[in-house]
């Protein structure tokens, strides 16, 4: 009898966790093959890079608006009064070895993270992968997108440079604009009138490095668990049915390729972080509420919101001498609420529009109200109506 390598290890685990059937299933777990199924993986790997680089940054960043005088190596700002937050980000960028690489990589990874989520969402939408039994997975994914956008905004608001200050001022304006409760809501968040007390920077830090990443990590786990439970969807093909999954098992080919994708994602992000400058905060200068600059644009994932704020006509609702709905509410709060509301409702809307009743229930729909379960994907051309409505909405 030849000794089987690894047997002792598996035995060791089995005796403690009884996990060998699960390990076996994991090794033989089948992944359907299509390039567009990689988009979600890219988002996951970008998140790993974010956690790694972010941890490094957290060791140097000081979240404080306490005033200090800059004495670092960036000559144009020498002797300037600025907040500790801004000064520590400058030091991290200019004086800490490798700091700029990791900060720029972190920022690029954030952009790629959200871009990958959006691309993944579009893929899932246009191939109708959101249908039952994956409507919960879809809702978790939409929540992840929302948290990712918040996390990105909180992140670039932290260095207290001119750009982050302007972004926060607008966020304050939007918070104030919530009908009726806005004033107090903004004061609760900022701990007082904008730009807020020291408490606010502490809250921003807690939100960005603890609450939101923990929530995102947790929801990613839920998202993946839901994916594993129902398996991936697959496109139509020879031998592909609603009852099976055809594809590459985890071990060895898929695992190697997926790790390859992880490395490729990291490679692109570190190359971008090293070679392509992003958010050179030393050029923006420190923030003061009385300063603003023309041409300042937020990161791309907030473009749609600032666009909504800009396009809105000067409509406010006043009566009885009170301002019931201040203007930023429309573009800054109502607009994203509607967009995310529609995103959450998509599985439901789609069932209504396509009358996608479970087939055996067709004759008896009023009694059962059951929806069909789908394991095969539609190609975008299979359902022109969904594709057209989707294009209009996302555009």
């Amino acid at each position: 009898m030849t000794p089987e390598p690894g047997r002792d290890t598996v035995r060791w685990i089995d005796e403690r966790a009884g996990a060998s059937p699960a390990l076996k299933a994991a090794l033989r777990y089948v992944f359907p093959e299509h390039w567009s199924f990689m988009l979600g993986e890219i988002a996951l790997y970008a998140f790993l890079v974010l956690v790694g680089t972010g941890t490094f940054l957290a060791f140097f960043f000081e979240s404080s608006t306490a005033e200090t005088t800059y004495h670092g190596s960036y000559a144009p700002l020498a002797g300037e009064r600025m907040s500790l937050a801004y000064a520590s980000t400058l030091r991290l960028s200019q004086d800490v070895p490798g700091g700029l690489l990791l900060r720029q990589t972190h920022h690029w990874a954030a952009l790629v993270f959200i871009a990958a989520i959006v691309a993944h969402l579009l893929r899932v939408f246009f191939t109708a992968a959101f249908r039952k039994p994956r409507d919960i997975t879809w809702a978790v994914g939409v929540t992840l997108l929302m948290l990712a956008v918040l996390e990105g905004f909180a992140g670039y608001s932290m260095p207290d440079d001119l750009l982050s200050g302007m972004g926060l001022a607008i966020a304050y304006g939007v918070a104030m604009s919530l009908p009726v409760v806005g004033g107090n809501a903004a004061f609760l968040i900022w701990g007082g009138e904008y730009p807020g007390t020291h408490d606010f920077t502490t809250r921003l830090l807690t939100l960005h490095v603890f609450i939101l990443p923990a929530a995102i990590g947790l929801l990613i786990a839920v998202h993946l668990a839901a994916v594993i439970r129902t398996h991936h969807t697959q496109f139509r093909g020879p031998g592909h049915t609603e009852r099976n999954v055809v594809g590459t098992p985890t071990w060895p080919a898929y695992a190697l390729r997926s790790l390859g994708l992880l490395s490729a994602t990291a490679a692109v992000l570190f190359l971008l972080g090293g070679l392509v400058q992003i958010n050179p905060i030393w050029q923006w200068g420190p923030y003061e509420p009385y300063l603003a600059t023309n041409g300042a644009q937020p990161d791309w994932f907030l473009g749609w919101l600032i666009g909504g704020l800009r396009l809105m006509p000067p409509l406010e609702i006043h009566f009885w001498g009170l301002t019931w709905v201040p203007n930023p509410f429309w573009g800054g709060a109502a607009f994203p609420l509607v967009v995310f509301g529609v995103l959450y409702a998509i599985p439901w809307l789609d069932r209504r529009l396509t009358r996608d009743w479970a087939r055996h229930e067709l004759l008896d729909r009023r009694l059962t109200r059951d929806w069909a379960r789908h394991e095969l994907l539609d190609r975008p051309r299979d359902n022109p109506q969904r594709t057209a409505l989707g294009m209009a909405f996302f555009a």
Binding site: Y194, N244, A264, A267, F270, T323, N327
Partner: protein, 330 residues
């Protein structure tokens, strides 16, 4: 066959075509397993792995030898290491290890038996419960009380909004100074540009502090009713809160015509969302999303020193609008 039959047949066909086609009748078995046995691919993987290792060591070397300003080299080395590693893994995954197409049967999600049992088990847990409504009401009271107790500490996150916002640092007679605390004289404000001023001794970060001061020809100024030029705009000097009434950015742009005959009249513009205010008319909104004018601060000129001083408080509350933001002279 009558034409009627043809129409019915066509409609039926169309309905059927619109629905999902049936799955293939004869099941195809897509399973396959292929072992590449390629020694060249293995060699390539080995080379890529060694190069990745060297690039990684290169990163460490650059880091240790030239700490500091080597961001580009560091990025190239680390990114390159990961790129080579990615190449090695992908070549290995595609050309070295067995290539297999496997089929897994999807698990059944619906369990009829358990679905019936679960509600039964839950219902059985309530056996012997005779005073349901009493218990439910009491539990509701407990839920409301404990819930309220848990959210109450959130109130200490911030003060109540009213008093704070209306406490402004401007009073009649307060000197207007620049960000370094030097007094601003009436003659420091030429036509065609704006000057940012603050109340002497107040925090620059207070939203109620910063004002923009512009000079316009007095004949072009038409302030809202109740604001006389002598008390609000001496010598054509006008001051407005610098904080946009839309979303709280600083009004940092001043559009001033270089040729009055064809160009639009002077305007204060917020660079965030391009709300545009007419300083000659009490900063009325002439473009953009802002819902109310910028609050105006009345000015006076010290007859002896020519220093600018406030001649009172703002005409309305400053900053982004909220429920009680009074609109002032609109």
């Amino acid at each position: 066959m009558s034409p009627w039959h043809v129409i019915v047949a066509a409609v039926l066909l169309a309905l059927r075509g619109g629905r999902r086609g049936p799955e293939p009748e004869e099941p195809v078995d897509p399973r396959e397993r292929r072992v590449p046995y390629s020694s060249r691919a293995q060699l390539l993987v080995a080379v890529l792995l060694v190069l990745a290792g060297l690039a990684g060591l290169g990163f460490s070397a650059i880091y240790l030898v030239h700490p500091g300003h080597e961001t580009q080299w560091l990025g190239l080395a680390l990114g390159g290491a990961f790129a080579l590693l990615a190449a090695a893994l992908i070549v290995a995954g595609k050309a070295v290890v067995p290539q297999e197409v496997a089929v897994e049967t999807r698990s059944q999600l619906v369990h009829e038996q358990a679905e019936q049992e679960v509600p039964q088990l839950v219902a059985e847990g309530g056996e012997g419960l005779t005073r349901r409504r009493l218990i439910a009401g009491a539990a509701g009271v407990a839920g409301i009380g404990v819930g309220a107790a848990l959210v109450t500490p959130a109130a200490s996150l911030g003060p109540n909004v009213g008093e704070r916002i209306d406490a402004i640092p401007w009073r009649r007679g307060v000197r207007v100074v620049d960000e370094r605390g030097r007094a601003i004289l009436a003659d420091d404000v030429p036509p065609g540009t704006f000057v940012t001023g603050f109340p002497e001794g107040a925090s620059l970060r207070d939203l109620a502090s910063p004002i923009v001061i512009v000079r316009l020809p007095p004949s072009t100024i038409h302030l809202p009713e109740g604001r006389s030029q002598e008390e609000w705009a001496p010598e054509g000097l006008l001051a407005y809160s610098k904080i946009c009434t839309h979303a709280g950015c600083a009004i940092a742009l001043y559009r001033y015509p270089s040729f009055r005959a064809t160009q639009q009249r002077p305007a204060l513009v917020c660079p965030c969302h391009y709300s545009t205010f007419d300083p000659a008319r009490g900063a009325d909104v002439i473009f953009g999303p802002a819902g109310r004018p910028l609050p105006q601060l009345p000015l006076q000129i010290d007859p002896a020193t020519r220093e600018l001083r406030a001649n009172g408080g703002y005409s309305a509350s400053i900053g982004p609008s909220w429920l009680n933001a009074n609109r002032g002279g609109a």
